[in-house]
Amino acid sequence: MSTNAVEQAAPAAQAEGATPSSTPARTGLLIIGASQSGVQLAVSLRALGFDEHITLLGDEDHRPYQRPALSKEFLQGTVESESLIFRSNEYWAEHNVDLVKGEFIVRIDKNTDGSGTAHSSSGKQFPFKRLALTVGARARKLEIEGGDLDGVLYLRNADDALALKARVGDASDVVVIGGGFIGLEAASSLQKMGKNVTVLEFGPRLVGRAVGEETAQYFLQAHRSRGLDIRLSVSARRFIANDAPGERRPAVAGVELEDGTVLPAQIVLIGIGVIPNTQLAEQLGLTVDNGIVVDRFALASDGTTVAIGDCANMPNPVPGSAPGERIRLESVNNAIEHAKVAAYSLTGRREEYAGIPWFWSNQADLKLQIAGLCNGYDRTVLRRDEERGKFSVLYYRHGQVIAADCVNAPLDFMAVKNALAKGQNIPAEAAADAATPLKTITTDS
């Protein structure tokens, strides 16, 4: 709902000659993208006292929802879709935030002062004083023969999850392509639902570069011991259609590998990474390089547009990282922390990213928690408690702990995360004893 104050503050739109009845009110801030980072930006702005009208616009027909459960609890049916909704309708109304669903922005006209108008594919206009791009990323497509068959699926949003859920009942065999977080989470869920699941990973190990070698090995063994068929260093050559007559769109029946092996599959789920959505930024002439390039205050190259979350390429926020080092982080934690930086920026304050990046992934009974970023490590320390199923790897650079992968070991995770946040260290020698709580050996620098 637009307020009178906002309508009165829309001279630019009126000057374009539109009739008042069709002139959309100019919003104070237009947030394009209504997922984790967009929602957090709106919420943080209100917490900071930002009093301009906010429009939170998404291209999906759902109210903003949390994504992590899509590959886990939601897929398995242990949570209701309603409990994934971020905020009640009343919350948005009370906080003067217009929620716009199902509008896909295709073009933006922008002035040098940061104001402008966004145009949607349905022909609607959204004039704004300031713009935020929280447009996220899209699933990377696997372009091979049969990729358009019915039953070849991706898992990025709620509609994807609903499409997958709708087919699970009829399927006995599932092939998951991609041994990253999404692939392994979904594979674990589907296996738990009684499906015969095979995971195909193109690389020589699981989870790519997100974790170190020891953690990848741990997950490989853990999943295999739980009965998941994981094949490394293999790739799919094509998807084979079933030859049932009379179907409107042929359905997938199997996956042919490069060596000629054919795996039966009524569902193929592809999780091979994401591509940041930079089309609007490019159209606006913003600098783009593996995401929308932003400064430490979440401002894009025009100095007025903010870009945050999965779509943004930002200076590495980890204390002690190399000057000029840039990074794009795909995580809930980053969406939240980056949104806070942007909220400060939009209210005229200059606050840098606070906190240590962290990630989690739940796969079967394995709870992985990652604190910090492990790139550039020169030493690892393993802590393994076979009996209790706990496993942690600490990463060191020049004797300083920089990150940890922790499986079913929240105490280790918390200890490392807190030490990193406080600029402390956990000496490697002492950390190697898995029976010693890390908290008790943490030192100042």
Binding site: V43, A47, Q66, P68, A69, K72, E73, S83, L84, I85, F86, R87, S88, E90, Y91, E94, H95, V332, N333, I336, G355, W358, W360, N362, K367, Q369, N408, P410, L411, F413, M414, A415, K417, N418, K439
Partner: protein, 106 residues
């Protein structure tokens, strides 16, 4: 209808009516109770939905499992005997729960 009374660290009270089956965390987040962050959305991974439960309410709650117990050692404000993670507390039909949110969650 279940009701949760949230008191923040300064003493301000917010009463929220919830739905049976929802968690205390979900109830707080959906209504924008500021003292609850809940980064992980209830998957017991972040310890940012920490609450102190009023002593006389503790008995109504489900017992704590090991993972919650361990996560509580990582809260931003140190745990107390009446600490719980609100994502693990489900609302039941006639529940009337009084909790206090810590000064900070991160």
């Amino acid at each position: 209808m279940p009701t949760v009374h949230f008191t923040d660290a300064e003493g301000a009270v917010r009463d929220v009516q919830g739905n049976t089956g929802d968690s205390v965390m979900e109830t707080a987040v959906r209504n924008g109770v500021p003292g609850i962050v809940a980064e992980c959305g209830g998957s017991l991974s972040c310890a940012t939905c920490h609450v102190f439960v009023r002593e006389d309410c503790l008995a109504q709650l489900p017992p704590m499992e090991d993972m919650e117990d361990e996560m509580l050692y990582g809260t931003a404000v140190d745990r107390e005997d009446n600490s719980r993670l609100s994502c693990q507390l489900r609302l039941t039909d006639e529940l009337e729960l009084f909790v206090t949110t810590p000064e900070t969650q991160v």
